[in-house]
């Protein structure tokens, strides 16, 4: 079931990305399985749990999920990146189902921390990118979250090891990210970010400290010529490549 949804979402992302000549395709494909689990299991119309997509450039993936789970109409989704629509190419709170606009990296975590500090009832999930962790504001927020033991805030980092124009290890090394976060005061889990069952278990794990999930992922997941390629942070699809990509999903 989860696999089937992931596959549908990936196809939808590619179709829209082709039509709209959109980029950030690799970043979008990387987080699909995480989003599927979050919206299938945790974030529902009848609860107040929320996702803050701090890596706002991967919003197409989120919009497709919101559409699948009926937060966002297909009519709206079809307007993605169109002039005079609200369907911004970085996550926008004008889009039904999105609560906080992002795009400039390093903003989501502090906002979520504020929500969780004042409201301990609802769960807030924050999805960060690995490159995003270069931004100092995240580390201000992480200190704050650990200090105040905000256990209803669950952080997931999409650790695909590629950032804007190069490998994370070559730009600003994050490893050992697990040890860093443990020393900050987090319960840290390292999982395969494409295995739905692992994601499900990680999110449900009982924790006394705030939870930080390192989701090891593959940028461009699902399409062999996109996987682990920096190029697909920027490149858009032509018809030939779209056909080749869809066959694999």
């Amino acid at each position: 079931m989860y696999k089937k949804i992931s596959s549908l979402i990936r196809k939808k992302i590619l179709e829209i990305a082709y039509i709209k000549k959109a980029n950030h395709i690799g970043s979008n494909l990387s987080i699909v399985d995480i989003l599927v689990v979050l919206y299938k299991d945790q974030i529902k119309k009848n609860n107040n749990n929320k996702l803050i997509l701090s890596k706002g450039h991967a919003c197409l993936s989120l919009y497709c999920i919101l559409n699948y789970f009926k937060f966002l109409s297909s009519k709206n989704l079809d307007k993605y990146s169109d002039n005079n629509s609200v369907m911004m190419s970085h996550a926008s709170h004008k889009v039904p189902g999105v609560f906080f606009s992002t795009g400039s990296l390093g903003h989501g975590l502090s906002y979520a921390a504020g929500k969780c500090y004042i409201n301990k009832k609802d769960k807030i999930f924050v999805l960060l990118s690995d490159g995003e962790l270069n931004e100092g504001s995240n580390w201000e927020a992480l200190l704050f979250i650990a200090h105040h033991k905000l256990t209803n805030l669950i952080i997931i980092v999409d650790y695909n090891k590629l950032q804007g124009i190069d490998h994370v290890d070559k730009v600003i090394k994050l490893d050992p990210i697990d040890k860093k976060l443990k020393s900050f005061g987090f319960d840290v889990l390292s999982i395969n970010g494409h295995k739905h069952l692992e994601i499900k278990k990680a999110i449900k794990k009982k924790h006394k400290k705030p939870l930080f999930i390192i989701a090891n992922t593959i940028k461009g997941k699902g399409v062999d010529f996109m996987e682990n390629k920096v190029l697909w942070h920027y490149k858009s699809l032509d018809l030939d490549l779209l056909g080749k990509a869809l066959k694999q999903l």
Binding site: S101, S110, G114, Y117, I118
Partner: protein, 291 residues
């Protein structure tokens, strides 16, 4: 003015518990009455203004009115993008509070001088500038803040302020000019915030003694048009500001006037040179305030 600010928040907390003050590890000797009485409405987030602004946006999104408090440069420039994207563009009920307008922190050096803060904060479309001249204007302004949700920039003076009594208005509104002294000419001295002190000093000179004096405590991008009601009455304005002319209050009034009136707008502002020497407020103002 800082103590009155804390008192106003405490008074409001008696009526409305959905109020919150965040400080960036500053406010020693000021915040204690609030911390003691309302510990659950206060948090020191530490020396981390980007996080403070983001956390404020998060708390405000849960239905709270939030104040974030620091020395002027830190609560504005250090977290400018969080203020723009997370607070202003989301139109959240957060008031950025700054202490030490202009050259008030003179001897601490340029890291602590607030000479461009208005230029920054007045370009955020939903943000109202709240710049009271004294404790009386502060209290009126706080009423305005409590009654009108949305982003605001409250610029507090830490110096002794100048009092005035000739006041008719009961409630302050965005774009109001408060008449402080009637003049005999169709000319006026206008200021925002504690620059009113300078307006009084200026009015002692023969050349300015028959000028009207106005104080403008609340203004914004959205209220620019309203200022035309006042601007059209005069042939000459002398704007006094403890801020650079570029992007400051005099520039704002020139934009509001749009050259459509036979009006000369002159200004006394801080010279745009980087302050490189030590000096207290009086020394630096003498050296850097220029027309």
């Amino acid at each position: 003015m800082r103590k009155e600010f804390i008192k106003a928040i405490c008074d409001q907390l008696k009526k409305n518990k959905k109020l919150f003050l965040l400080v960036g590890d500053l406010g020693y000797g000021m915040i204690e009455p609030l911390v003691k009485k309302y510990p659950n409405s206060f948090l020191n987030v530490g020396v981390a203004e980007q996080n403070m602004a983001g956390v404020a946006a998060g708390i405000a999104s849960e239905g709270y009115q939030v104040f974030i408090y620091s020395i002027a440069n830190f609560s504005t420039f250090r977290c400018a993008e969080q203020i723009r994207n997370d607070i202003d563009y989301h139109n959240l009920n957060v008031t950025v509070v700054s202490v030490g307008s202009g050259l008030e922190y003179g001897k601490l050096g340029y890291s602590h001088h607030a000479l461009q803060d208005l230029a920054l904060m007045r370009t955020f479309p939903n943000t109202k500038i709240i710049s009271p001249a004294n404790e009386f204007e502060l209290n009126k302004s706080m009423n305005y803040i409590f009654k009108n949700p949305g982003p605001k920039y409250l610029r507090l003076s830490k110096e002794e302020t100048v009092k005035y009594t000739s006041i008719k208005k009961t409630n302050f509104k965005d774009g109001d000019w408060i008449l402080i002294k009637k003049g005999k000419l169709n000319k006026a001295i206008v200021s925002t915030g504690n620059s009113l002190k300078k307006s009084f000093e200026l009015s002692m000179f023969k050349k300015f003694k028959d000028f009207y004096i106005y104080s403008v405590p609340i203004w914004s991008m959205k209220s620019k048009k309203l200022h035309q009601n006042y601007l059209k009455k005069f042939s000459e304005l002398m704007v006094v500001e403890t801020h650079l002319e570029d992007g400051g209050f005099s520039s704002y009034l020139r934009e509001a006037a749009k050259n459509q009136y036979k009006l000369k707008i002159k200004s006394i502002s801080i010279s745009p040179k980087v302050v490189g020497e030590v000096g207290d407020k009086a020394f630096l103002e003498k050296k850097y305030l220029r027309n």
